[in-house]
């Protein structure tokens, strides 16, 4: 029987809300799929789109980006700036032909342990159905003689 494909998910999360929320998921003993590798940043405002590109070109099949709800940012406005960036970056990703189904944006607060689990499960299931991101991974060898 063939091994089922398990997607590699990378999550860029802010320290104060989503990371804490993910912690709560754990302490609440809520189970969720283990495919996600969590990268903790002080704030979503720190997330550079280059990181998202790198995640895909380095082998991620799906990317999750999550932070504090608008108005709740620990640094007051970091997530507002992040939202602006995502609104343009998402358009550009689509324009260049990156599959937006593989990128999930969310606001998850420190109290939303259950939401984090749901989010990860949903995103992972979606990407599992889409399969490995061969198109980008194959590109990694193109253009090198």
């Amino acid at each position: 029987m063939a091994e089922q494909f398990e997607p590699k998910m990378t999550a860029f999360v802010c320290n104060w809300c989503t990371y804490a929320g993910a912690d709560l998921t754990g302490t609440s003993r809520i189970k969720y799929q283990a495919n996600v590798r969590v990268i903790r940043l002080p704030c979503t405002g720190r997330i550079d789109f280059m990181m998202v590109l790198k995640a895909f070109s380095r082998g991620s099949d799906g990317v999750i980006i999550s932070g504090c709800h608008p108005n709740d940012c620990h640094y007051t406005s970091g997530n507002y700036h992040a939202r602006r960036r995502w609104m343009v970056f998402r358009d550009l990703l689509d324009f260049v032909g990156i599959d937006l189904e593989r990128v999930t944006f969310s606001w998850v607060s420190a109290a939303e342990g259950a939401k984090w689990a749901e989010l990860v499960n949903e995103a992972t299931n979606k990407v599992r159905a889409l399969g490995p991101y061969k198109e980008i991974q194959q590109l990694a060898a193109v253009g090198i003689d």
Binding site: R58, G143, I144, D145
Partner: protein
């Protein structure tokens, strides 16, 4: 002593087919949208019948990105994996004589002190069938640098157009003979006068020897600052150039494994000579522009007894701000 044959377009087509069947990759200048690219061709009729490719054919022997080695981190050890260049035998079909001549300028560097196996393997596996020029444009200056529109230097076979249609094929090397042998029966030996279309007229614009002498006294001239005012310091000229050979080496790795790549570099870029200390001996564009001219027209002949330029004019055509090199060189040779 070279062999000359008459070949029709049909015969050329048969040669290309035979070459492809023998497992060779056939590359030639082909019109794609509004440009001419060196790309795979299947028939001689696909070749662009005038003009030159934007980027030179040097990518066949010196690719824009090339893997040199791979490595893996195994515990405390590093497992190195040497890369053997995987090269399919290739025929460069229909490139210009200036581009064929250029391989020598690359060769002198890649076989200077260290014999570069990547370049050498690729060159050994490449057969050059050049097409002499019956037309030239404002940017060409092959005759100023010791070449001609029907120069044989660097070619394994040189094709020249016949007035009556078809070509004369001059077979110059063993590699050329080996290629012709694939379709030998179709090649008719040339007897008597061929009736060639006259080669293009490219009036010499300057004398390269005079230029080399003048350069010796012009290092501190304000000429370089003046000429380079509009230069943007990009790499367009260096990357389209068939003789430019500078490269950068980059390691791309993560915590488990990596690869070492060689990529084209340009002396026109600001960071080319940036030291780790922060000092940059060529911090101004005028210094970098001067370096470009001296490297090709003074240092190369001094070291390698050959010019670092074949007068193809690709640099001038590619430059976004019209740094017409021929004009600049004429001025420098005054």
């Amino acid at each position: 002593m070279s062999d000359k044959y008459i070949v029709s377009e049909t015969v050329l087509g048969a040669l290309i087919d035979a070459a492809a069947r023998s497992g060779r990759r056939i590359l030639g200048p082909k019109a794609v949208a509004e440009r001419i690219e060196i790309t795979e061709i299947k028939t001689a009729s696909e070749l662009a019948n005038s003009g030159q490719s934007t980027v030179s054919a040097k990518g066949t022997v010196f690719p824009k990105v090339e893997r040199l080695l791979r490595y893996r981190f195994e515990g405390k050890n590093v497992a190195l994996e040497d890369v053997e260049p995987q090269v399919q035998p290739t025929v460069l079909f229909g490139i210009r004589p200036c581009e064929a001549r250029a391989f020598h300028a690359l060769d002198v560097v890649f076989n200077w002190d260290y014999k570069d196996k990547f370049f050498n393997t690729r060159l050994a596996n490449t057969t050059v069938v050049a097409m002499s020029c019956t037309q030239a444009d404002d940017s060409c200056f092959c005759t100023s640098v010791g070449s001609r529109p029907d120069d044989t230097a660097g070619s394994d076979i040189l094709l020249s157009t016949l007035k009556a249609g078809g070509f004369v094929a001059e077979v110059l090397t063993d590699k050329g003979k080996a290629l012709v042998a694939l379709a030998k029966d179709a090649f008719q030996p040339l007897t008597g006068d061929a009736g060639l279309v006259p080669p293009a007229t490219v009036a010499p614009a300057f004398d390269a020897k005079v230029l080399q002498q003048k350069l010796a006294a012009k290092f501190d001239s304000p000429l370089w600052a003046e000429q380079s005012l509009r230069c943007l310091g990009c790499g367009a000229c260096a990357f389209v150039c068939p003789t430019c050979v500078c490269f950068d080496i980059q390691d791309e790795a993560d915590t488990r494994q990596g690869q070492r790549l060689r990529a084209w570099d340009s002396c026109g870029m600001r960071m080319f000579t940036l030291h780790a200390s922060g000092h940059n001996p060529r911090d101004k564009q005028s210094q970098r522009w001067r370096q470009r001219v001296y490297h090709k027209f003074a240092y190369y002949p001094e070291r390698f007894a050959t010019l670092g330029c074949v007068g193809c004019g690709k640099c001038s055509r590619a430059c976004p701000v019209d740094m017409n090199l021929k004009q600049h060189l004429v001025e420098a040779a005054e």
